[in-house]
């Protein structure tokens, strides 16, 4: 309806006003919406808990402990020679998500395996020392992981995730 009023009497001026006013309203609206979106992102106190230090001196070969990191379980497993050998013996062609065992632990620390204890299928926590490969077995939908935490059989698409971590000393690791 404003098009009809466009003549030589300030039609361009009106267009300018409408466009600039509209642009300001648009920018303002987006600026106002952002806090309402961002408030649902992790808050400062949640982000402050994003790394966890673990003392691993008490873990014997063949044992595994579960650590809570960012509200999620992390398996720290001290593997036996037999378990490491089993992981190394696997043919890459047999793996749905091919990854060598060496890529899944820190250099020279083959006995320590640190993986996120969350099945890559739909997020259940797998059971340790279980399943056909004696690694992990997810009871929810039957995914089997080997002693390197790699998916071998079942619906899960990927290996158990290796979180970011580092050895602070030989007996202390920092996850996150």
């Amino acid at each position: 309806m404003s098009a009809a009023s466009h003549g030589g009497d300030g039609g361009e001026r009106r267009d300018f006003l409408v466009i600039t006013a509209g642009a300001f309203v648009g920018v303002g609206a987006v600026g106002l919406v952002w806090p309402f979106v961002d408030q649902m992102n992790p808050s400062a106190d949640v982000l402050a808990l994003s790394s966890t230090e673990v003392d691993i001196s008490g873990i014997e070969p063949g044992q595994s402990v579960t650590i809570s990191w960012r509200g999620k379980p992390v398996f720290v497993r001290r593997r036996t020679e037999a378990e490491i050998d089993a992981a190394l013996a696997v043919d890459m062609d047999d793996l749905p998500d091919p990854q060598s065992d060496a890529e899944r632990h820190k250099d020279g620390k083959a006995e320590w395996l640190v993986v996120l204890g969350i099945c890559t299928h739909l997020g259940c926590v797998p059971l340790g020392f279980a399943g056909e490969y004696d690694g992990w077995f997810c009871p929810c939908h039957g995914s089997h992981y080997d002693t390197s935490g790699r998916i071998r059989k079942g619906p899960a698409p990927a290996n158990l995730e290796v979180p970011e971590y580092e050895f602070l000393t030989d007996t202390q690791i920092k996850i996150g």
């Binding site: 952002w34 961002d38 649902m40 808050s43 400062a44 106190d45 949640v46």
Partner: protein, 412 residues
Amino acid sequence: MSFQTDNKLIKWFDDRLPLVSVMHHTFVQHPYPRNLNVAYQFGSILGVMLTLQIVTGIVLAMHYTAHTSLAFDSVEHIMRDVNYGWLLRYMHANGASMFFIAVYLHMFRGLYYGSYKAPREMIWIIGVVILLVMMATGFMGYVLPWGQMSFWGATVITNLFSALPVVGDPIVTWLWGGFAVDNPTLNRFFSLHYLLPFVIFGLVFLHLVALHQKGSTNPLGIEIKGPADYISFHPYFTVKDFFGFAAFGVIFAIFVFWFPNYLGHPDNYIPADPLVTPAHIVPEWYFLPFYAILRSVPDKLMGVLAMFAAIGVLFILPWLDRSRVRSAAFRPQYKWFFWIFALDCIVLGYAGSQPAEGNMLIISRIATIYYFVHFIFLMPVLGWFERPKPLPTSISEAVLAGKASSSGGENA
């Protein structure tokens, strides 16, 4: 002028569910008097404020914990840890104040221009119900941070009901869910504080249905008589309302960003302590006039009744006012009494903020008496004795005569 479209999908939809044509009627086509002035901005501003309070409130509820041992800390968590939590909380807390500023100006507009008079009584009455629900919502919201003012405000206000004979104490115990304000009280207040804004939303809908039934009043207080007297809502009043949002938003933003705690009370940053009352407790500013009325009556039950009557009297205002002329522009005496009444409300508000002793008590008593005299005595009597100025024959005539500003204004 009714809704037209060539779009087959919209036609199909609107034929089965007339959402589009109702929205079109409400926000595009509805005729409003052409002479609405700045006093008529506050209705749409209130709609925006209600929406903003609901949205910020829903978001705050995602981070707040309604438990006596966690509530205070969860509010601090919102302020310090949650992304933009400080902004959202300050918007919500100051938004409540801005909501009341707008609603009081909206009501004074109604008083000045006689918006409550026949045939618009239902608009006014629903409006007063909205005010009551707003007050309940605001009060319960103030309890949630569980500071000292929260706790003692909750204690004092719930104790109002103990003034009732016989049933008073059982009612207070029922409201508390215990023998003092405690966790059950906090939990139910949170639940109701979340519920009531949606009740207000429903009441606003009825308010608007009633408004559209009879149409808006205007500063001249005469009805629309022909097409020259009105203009459509869009684009004229959408543009005017957006200007109003911007102006009001600037004031709102000044409070939120520069004086976020100016309207609050520092004692509410002290965690609630059921064993110690702060030296001087006052309600939020928007309750102060009513608080002054409560305290000015030296009897517990009568004080409570006077306070509720101060709002109750608004329900019968359309029948107390005997004048046939709506707008104060044509009521030379009422115009003065209106401003005296507005001043009286401010005096009551100031008195409510001060300790109830000495001269201030006397002032608040006089102001309380005048409050009721204005409604019960002056409103009916003025209608009989006042000699109103002659009304213009139509809105367009008055507006165009004013514009020409040659011979004869609106009263000529």
